[in-house]
Every structure is written in structure tokens, then in C-alpha cells.
Amino acid sequence: MTTSAEAVAGPSVRTTGRRHPKAIGLVIPTVILSLWELAAHQGWVSAVFLPTPERTIRSLFEMIRDEGFLKDVLSSLTIVVESFIGGAILGIGAGVLAGLSRTADRVLGPTLDAIRHVPPIAWLPLIVLWVGIGPLGKVVFIVKVVFFPVFLNTVQGIRGVQKEHIDLATVLTLNRWQLLRRVVLPGALPSILVGLRYGASLAWALIVVAEGLSGLKGIGFLIFRAQALLMTDQLLVCMVVIGAIGFMIDFGMCRLERRLLRWKRGYDGA
């Protein structure tokens, strides 16, 4: 009874060959930032359309100090987080239902498909008409935005669970709940996480649009107002902050994915 002769792969050893320093990803941003500096200082572009990076940073602090900028950011973030949670729960719930039961799929399928094919933005006017330009309308809107990628990926993930694993569950006499918890959901998890990650990015992108089109609050409102009032510095501040938050949301989702899927061995890239 020896195992010594058999090869054992160490815990997730990565063999990616040459390791590049992380800094390699900062090269292009540095070049762009330098070009921005240069263009603004040399007067290649009028200051009305392209303020200097320093001016932009100063505007950020002024906006925080004088105009309650953080409150706006926070209000946008709150809506996104609440709606994301709501949309994710509804999406996974409906997805599990439709994934497990062909009947549920047939009942839900056509309706959801029809709703899905009207683009999110096209729903906004009706939602605003019904619940107004306040936060509630945005929550409804973003819940819908998050719901679909999560729902579709959950159904697909469940349908992709191996028949052999279901047979195993039968042999081990697992009941329906145990089957769902121990076999079906973990099997569908990689796909569900793709849906969640995509839904989170989409939610943050579309809250900006929704606030720009209706309402008097939030970072989306500010960026469109800055454009209308030709406050290019504020516009740039909003762009950078939107980008930074979007980046952090995706980074967080990526970390979550890594953590939940640590049992999975995939291709890391050469």
C-alpha cells in the first residue's frame, strides 16, 4: 500500500515559464498620461476641451469639498449594490428553477426572451413614467439589467452539469436538496460566476446612463451636467472615478471567482 511511486501534483503549482514584472501593464497608461500632459501644456488642445491633469486632480478635491461629490458617488454605488444583490438573487432563483425543470423553462422562457430582446435603455422611459426619476426607478432598471446575464448563465450552467455526476448522486441516494447543494450548484458555479461578473460590470456602466437620462443625483447625472455646462475638468473627474470604481468592481468579482473556484484547474495563459 504505497503511494510514493505515484506522481502527485503539488497544490496548484503554476508553470507559466518566464514571469514578467507586474509593472509591464503600466507602460501604456504612463504613455497616455504623458501625452495628456504634453497636449494640455503645449496647447495642442484648447483648455476648454482638455484641462491639464493637475487641474483635473484639483477639481476632484474641490468637488469633494464644495459640492458633496462623494455623496453622489455613494448614492450611485448604493443603488448598484442593492440592485445587484436583488437581480442576482432573482436571476439565480429563476435560473435554478428553469434549469432543473423543463416545465418551468417552457413557462418562463418565451416571456423572458421577449423582455430580454427589448434593450435595457428602451425600458427606462416606461420605468421613469411609472415610478418617477427617483432612486426606485433606477433600482428597478438595474435589477433587470443584472437579472438576465445571471439567469441565462445559471440555466446554462445547470444544463451543463455532467450526467455522470447526477448518476453518482443517485447511487449515493442523495435527495433533491442534497443533489442541488452538493452536485448541481457547484457544477454550475463557474457559469453562474461568469453571469454575476458580467452583470456587475453592466450594472455599474448602466447606472451612469440611467442617471444621465433621468434624475438629479449620482455620478451619471454629474457627468452629463458637466458636459452641458462645458466643465470639462469635472467631466474628466467623473470619467476617471467611474473607470476606477468599475475596475475595482471587476477586480473584486475576479477575486471572489478565484476563491470560490480554487478547486478548478484551468489554463493560466502562456
Partner: protein, 261 residues
């Protein structure tokens, strides 16, 4: 330990408007604690037979009796080890073995110690927290064996459990299986296409023929003690079984064809 009896078990599949008979009136008895090997070429229905016994497919004619009672659905008293180890990739080795005890009527502590005991028995102590992708093929198959045995089944079904392993690992696991069987003394049905494996392990070798899947012969293996694969008696049995499977006659036919040319 229990006895298993199959009485006239017949299975047909619906294939494009016609019915394809994959098992034809199978009669088979497995005595308590007996090790029965079933050999046959691929497509003779031997894996289907195990699916019926373990309870994955209830659509057949005839009777499958465990201690005289017809089997219905799956039960922890019938364990199975598949050719692919079929460990769940999101569970550690320990969790995979433990999954078999999810619905076993025993206290949590007993479950934990039973899982540890079986993991040690198959020689995987120290790998409790490894994920399946970190195990070699042989180790994964031992883990599957531990999962099949941890419920202390009345009968253990082995569906070509070593078929995907390299020759050396296969020989070693065959010996380990004998050792484990000697400590657990459960009844075993081993399905394989490896005649040598069937003789080496079995008290009895059942030869199955394809289309429709049927039992051609049962050969009692009267080789006491540790079996020697190179002995005359062993090879005589192998020859006998291969002829029964139609292997030698094919060779002869080939020879004759060549002579005619």
C-alpha cells in the same frame, strides 16, 4: 454479506422505432462474500447489467433479488465504483468519500472516523484535503474505491475500475483490492474486459457474449492462495475463457484465410 440473484433479466433499448435487446435472460448468482468476475468484449451489456443492479435503471424484465428481496432504486447496501473515478472536482478527497455517508444512519463522529479509516485503508492517508485534480489516476481510483466501500455495502459493483490505468498501477491496485476484500469480505461483482484480471481476482468468471448480451459460461476458478499469473493452471484457464469469448477461433479463421490465399 448478502446473496444476489438475477433471474431472467432482460433489457431492451428503443433505437429508432426498433427495439434493441442488450441483455437476454441473464441468470446469475453471487454467494455471500463471493468475488465474481464478468468478462466480455465491449458492447456485451456488462456495464448495463451493473446499472440495473445498482438501481440506475429500473426499466427491465426479470428479477434482481438481494437476499431474496427485489431491489428497488438505489441503496447504500449496493456500492459501485465506475471506470472514471467520478470524484466531484469541487470536493476534497475527504469530502468526496464522506458524500457517500450523507444519508447513512450513523452519528457524525462515526462518519468522520469511518471516512478516515477507509482513506487509510486505500493508502491515501495524508491526502485528505487534496482536490481530485491533484491526485494521479491511480490515487483517484483508490479514492473511488474508498467511497464505494465506506458505506459497508452488502455488495460492491466494480465497473472496469482499473481500465483507464497504466499496466503497472493496475497490477498493484489488483493486489490492493484483494487485500481490502479480505478485510471487508463483501460480495463483489467485477466487470472487466481483461481476462487475466478476471481470473486473478475472481472466485468465478462469467463469460458474456454480445448482441444480445448473454452469459455463455461460468468458469469456477479453483486456484488456492496467491495466484500465479504465469502458472500452467492459470494459463489453461485463460486459454479456455478466451476460446469461449471467440478469440482463438478468430485467429484460426485468419490463419485459414491466409492459407487459402
Amino acid at each position: 454479506m448478502s446473496s444476489l440473484s438475477l433471474r431472467g433479466v432482460t433489457k431492451e433499448y428503443e433505437v429508432a422505432d426498433s427495439r434493441l435487446r442488450v441483455l437476454d435472460a441473464i441468470n446469475l448468482d453471487v454467494a455471500p462474500g463471493e468475488f465474481v468476475s464478468i468478462v466480455g468484449s465491449s458492447g456485451c451489456g456488462k456495464s448495463t447489467l451493473l446499472r440495473l443492479i445498482v438501481g440506475l435503471d429500473a426499466d427491465y424484465e426479470g428479477q434482481i433479488l438481494l437476499d431474496g428481496r427485489p431491489v428497488r432504486g438505489a441503496s447504500l447496501s449496493r456500492g459501485i465504483v465506475f471506470q472514471d473515478h467520478r470524484l466531484l472536482p469541487w470536493f476534497t478527497l475527504e469530502q468526496n468519500v464522506g458524500l457517500a455517508l450523507e444519508n447513512a444512519p450513523m452519528p457524525r463522529d462515526t462518519k468522520r472516523s469511518e471516512v478516515a479509516r477507509l482513506i487509510a485503508l486505500v493508502g491515501l492517508g495524508g491526502f485528505e484535503n487534496a482536490y481530485p485534480h491533484q491526485l494521479s489516476g491511480g490515487m483517484a481510483q483508490r479514492a473511488a474505491l474508498a467511497r464505494g466501500l465506506v458505506t459497508r455495502p452488502e455488495i460492491l459493483l466494480l465497473d472496469e475500475p482499473f481500465g483507464a490505468l497504466d499496466a503497472l498501477t493496475r497490477l498493484r491496485l489488483q493486489d490492493e483490492l484483494l487485500h481490502i476484500w479480505s478485510t471487508h469480505r463483501t460480495s463483489v461483482i467485477l466487470v472487466t474486459h481483461d481476462v487475466e484480471e478476471a481470473i486473478y481476482l475472481g472466485d468465478k468468471v462469467v463469460v458474456m457474449l454480445p448482441s444480445p448480451g448473454r452469459i455463455a459460461r461460468e468458469v469456477k476458478i479453483d486456484l488456492p492462495g496467491q495466484r500465479d499469473r504465469t502458472s500452467h493452471a492459470f494459463n489453461a484457464l485463460r486459454h479456455e475463457i478466451l476460446i469461449e469469448m471467440g478469440a482463438t477461433s478468430t485467429v484460426e479463421r485468419d490463419l485459414r484465410m491466409r492459407l487459402v490465399r
